[in-house]
Symmetry: C2
Subunit: 166 residues, 2 copies
DNA sequence: CTGCCTGCAAACGATTTGCACCAGC
DNA sequence: GCTGGTGCAAATCGTTTGCAGGCAG
């Protein structure tokens, strides 16, 4: 993320805390900063590992709780994933994902044409749509290659639990 | 599901097993039949409860394993959900979902216009797209009503774990 | 100073794994 | 009969909860 955007996000982070009367702790700031710089879509566990580089003593559950808070403040997004663990995403504007059916990798994708898709005709009293995103399922470059030339065992590298067969 | 479609699905179920050389056990058949009739998107646990009505002694882990097999045979779909537990879906053609941000309910939606959305421009050597589906996030009728008239505590009925803030 | 936050430990729910037994082919 | 599926128990993984102490406002 470029410095200007990053600063804007940090300002927004502080403003959201002020508005909600939440204290800005080192931990919250560190977790948020750790997420901002990620291009992938880390699990809570991965965020924990990243944050420990700046705050070695931070606990896993604090990371979980902070992530929950950040999500409910609308500062980060929780993106759903066929795997078991939740993924977190610093991008909160509308965007879409390529999801690899083999390894579970999530690739960010944005295309203005995808922001103009029709809304399904639903009775507004039955469901009100706020936003949407699209999951494109397929195979990433690495897994294509792996399938083409199974060097070792065909089941060389198992996909993360629950990732397959979306 | 109407009887004709249902029979077709059962035939396909048998054919897939024959092709793969997998034995057609009572348990597998019962699990598949239990899923076929669901309009919701049950968790493995819910499938287990349903199957026990016909096979009272079936164990939870058999249901898990059978669901995994059915998914890899392409007979049922595993749909990703912001909540913690995986959901299973008898519908294997392209379709989309309305997901309630409050209670996590999944509502099936199909609209021919949604089958003609543009593919994002991705380098095919980086990712090959097989299919896609759209998650429309919002609020279902029940939760809208609940928000409008909070009878008891505002946090009367907690959403399933991890459901919020997608 | 007060309240929320943090950290620890333990509980919890969903899912997986190892092993003995049983059933489909 | 052989192969693989099933059931049981226990382990595992991600996440949540209850409680004592700490820090931001």
């Amino acid at each position: 993320m470029n410095p200007a955007d990053r600063q804007q996000r940090l300002d927004r982070f502080l403003a959201a805390h002020r508005e909600s009367g939440l204290p800005v702790t080192h931990q919250r700031r560190a977790v948020f900063e750790a997420i901002l710089d990620r291009q992938d879509h880390p699990t809570a566990e991965q965020v924990h590992r990243a944050v420990r580089q700046s705050l070695p003593q931070i606990s896993r559950m604090t990371v979980h709780r902070v992530l929950g808070t950040l999500v409910s403040l609308g500062l980060v997004a929780k993106t759903c994933h066929p795997g078991s663990a939740a993924r977190f995403d610093p991008r909160i504007h509308r965007h879409h994902h390529l999801v690899c059916l083999d390894c579970g990798a999530i690739i960010y994708v944005e295309d203005p044409r995808l922001n103009r898709i029709p809304r399904p005709r639903v009775n507004p009293s039955e469901f009100t749509i706020q936003d949407y995103n699209i999951h494109f399922r397929g195979r990433c470059a690495r897994c294509q290659q792996k399938a083409r030339s199974p060097r070792r065992k065909p089941t060389a590298k198992r996909a993360p639990a629950g990732t397959r067969g979306l």
